[in-house]
Amino acid sequence: MLCDDVLLHLAQTPDEASNDFLPLPIRHHLATCLSCQAEQVHYRRVHRELQSLKTITVLPDERLLDDILDSVRPPATVIQLRPSRRRAYVSGIAAAATAGAAGAIVLVSKLSSKGQRLAG
């Protein structure tokens, strides 16, 4: 059996922990060929490292979550949000109007007190 034939098997099945699954001629070859044994060790090592990548995560940028949630947000949720915004707008306008009215009252009262003084 040639080393190339053995290497083909090793590349196909590096995830197997033992050699029992391998065909007998390959097992015999592996038992005596140091070069193929070394190759098997390398393949298994690469496989182990690949498996270890399972626990490693790649962090996305912070905006991704919001973008996903925005894209799947149902229209009903958008409508639900509107009244709260509307309430905020109305409150803002009401506050501005109140401030304006209060200012006008102060102005008028000042003017009227000035007029009374002039008249006297």
């Binding site: 196909q12 496989h47 690949l50 996305p60 940028d61 996903i68």
Partner: protein
Amino acid sequence: MSKEIDNLVAKAKDGDHRAFEELVRETYVDTYTLAFRLTGDPEDARDVVQEVYLRVHKSLRRFRGDSQFKTWLHRITANCASTLLGRRHKHRHDPMPEDAPIADNNPQLDPAARADTGVLRNQLTDALRGLPPKLSAVVVLRDIYDFSHEAIAAELGISESAAKVRLHRARKRLREILHTHEDSEEAEAHAV
């Protein structure tokens, strides 16, 4: 964790949008990681992840729970990434042939640092990125995410035998790249 996700899936299937949002929060980093490993590009991975959750949102009611939710999610991610890579390949003018030699311009040659397994992991990550997408997708799905050959074939739209051939080529390439690193290091050590 799995039970929590199962609960969220059940609620989301019943139309609980908050549960769906929570499901996204719990799984999107994992989904992004797979998408990034398959596409090798942060922007492409972003696009894939958004497409994945749109698909999940549309078809969650059809999820029967035969497999784990995460497995289902991984399969959708693989499918979306394959679609994106296929589209990109169509528009690309200089496709990388599968047998093109892979050059690593930044090999780690420090024997002391080599002792650290993290170095091998980094080399492996770089080597994965250097593989043509067709090959890296198969090895990522099989060797990191434990997809069966059948599932890989289904999600990538190829035959099972093609999946096996690509897997064999990908492992061989990875092995060669890492072997080259080791040879360089040995030569360096002998020179010193």
